[in-house]
Subunit: 349 residues, 2 copies
Amino acid sequence: MSIRDNNKKLTVKSVAQMLGVSTATISNAFNRPDQLSVELRQKILAECQRLGYHGPNPAARSLRTGTTGVVGVMLTDTLSFNFTDPCAIEFLQGVTQVLDDAQVNLLMMPGRTDFYKEKSLESLPERYILYGPPQDLSIIRRLEDQRKPIVTVDFSLPNHLSLNVDNYGGAKAAAEHILETTQGAIAVIGLRLVECSKTVRVERHKWLDSKVSISRQRLEAYLDAAKEAGREIPHSMIWSTYESTWQEGVLAAREALKESPRPEAFLCMSDQLALAALSVAREMNLRVPEDLKIVGFDDIPASQQTHPAITTVYQPSLEKGRLAAVMVLNPERFESRILPTTLHIRETS
Amino acid sequence: MSIRDNNKKLTVKSVAQMLGVSTATISNAFNRPDQLSVELRQKILAECQRLGYHGPNPAARSLRTGTTGVVGVMLTDTLSFNFTDPCAIEFLQGVTQVLDDAQVNLLMMPGRTDFYKEKSLESLPERYILYGPPQDLSIIRRLEDQRKPIVTVDFSLPNHLSLNVDNYGGAKAAAEHILETTQGAIAVIGLRLVECSKTVRVERHKWLDSKVSISRQRLEAYLDAAKEAGREIPHSMIWSTYESTWQEGVLAAREALKESPRPEAFLCMSDQLALAALSVAREMNLRVPEDLKIVGFDDIPASQQTHPAITTVYQPSLEKGRLAAVMVLNPERFESRILPTTLHIRETS
DNA sequence: AAGTCTGTATTTACCGGTCAAGAAAGTTTG
DNA sequence: CAAACTTTCTTGACCGGTAAATACAGACTT
């Protein structure tokens, strides 16, 4: 620890006084090297180090300059919820790769409304990435009022840059692949298709808005593909989980496999759910893919590492994160984009 | 969007003027409801909403009050590196659970030195959690100079709260278990045991400091257990990876299984590495656990979901995160802790 | 009726920097 | 050699709030 036995708080002012220069000179030593001689600057920096003054107070600097060097990433729901989702993780990894290099800090913000209830949302970040729609439109309004660059990911907002992946195309390819290779019944396990906070069959439940729910977009693709093939996936064969977890996936898969006729294929809207389905197949001694075909979505690393490896739709989560970060840092240089998805056929189909 | 056609910037001052009250009254309306009548407060809040003023500027407020409502989590290495580690993820999940509830924001900071090269580290957070040792002690010194609460996780620092898990105990239990059940050679696959940025056998490489590297602590336990059993694990049977990834684990496991005598057990210092070893066993048609026993560390969810399920040492990552957050928010109420680890014997041993 | 409380609202002095403009000293130019 | 530049450093006004002190009713004592 530096020599700070004196309780005096270190500020540009106090440091300037100690070194016998003006406050502006201290400030310039840190921010604008060209404004003073090299020797003086070196001396000042060395002295500051010795005193334990590690640079200007960021709050004061922000106040004066209006910049903070912080990008906010607002995640749907709570933060911890997102940390259970491999896709979100990979996305964040991409974001951080870029922000690390850009010397910018990352502030994580939950998208829950009540977090900001009585609280100022006029907050630190000078740019925002919204990963998935926040719980409540009022949050968006308040963000917009701040007139800062916003990039939305996995959903769109008028007048803002958005970054999406081709959910419809990927899901359709997956469904077509399954429709070609199996003649039997097909079951769907989806995430948050309907307004219900547990794993349920979708019948009798209220659909979530397809503009908001990417799962709804994927479902449309499944159903369209079936219709075009002259087949049908009845609502009684569609399950909706509340979270994309192994546990919920197991629940849904078990229920589905009790149906008769027993489904011969699962269209799963995430690899987590597909892994769960695979596990249930094993516990019921069903051969995959002979007795049961399984297709996932996302292509998380675990999909390749399991046996049999899971057929799934790849979406570039990492790239999505990198691009979102680059876009939010240079909004004027970009336009909204839709990233491609591709079907990866492996061993479960 | 609110009615902000006028370009005028909204501040307490301008808003106060518009509403014909003093700036302090606006401030109080947001921060201290008891300082003004309920009606006036309601009216002010409503007007602010209408005008699009969403509360005081956080930079200015921070400057004045000296608080920011931000906790910094500094991660070893880059941010993105940590997002590849399930344990770090689970830890962060725990942290965010608590911070969500405490209405506190989370700022993620890389532990790389060069990120702060020319930059002020006198930064926003008013408390810090250090997850793993930062790359460089100078960072710690600069953090300490700020005189803010610090909690260190997975390593210790004099005069600061620390939170560790019983790496030695867990690793020893794992090793003893293996020593009891197999008479053959034992190989170790560890993470960052030596100073080398790729997967290598540890021979001829410089050890990393055991005060800093939790892997070193685990290794000590393995070796002690062997010695106590009158056996030996030679350095030629110890591999060190640079990252705890599947890819690097595969590399190490393949090399190890080429040795003669062929190892009959793997002590892996993470479940990621154990999963990789399992995969290599499968590709070499070795039966697990008959031909090869595998023990991991951490007990990540995937360990239970794979077949065969992996024997591993459980460490409470989520709890660790929750506790770290609680500790940093109320440092005076806590003392340094070491959380227990427990061996979970499953199917790979 | 004078004195004391209470509840509301305002005044005022900072918080710790940064930037534009200005001053002092040395250098170049015509 | 004076005028015009440069270079280097200083001055002083602001950035947008907040907390403590102050002012001022009206209600309540005594």
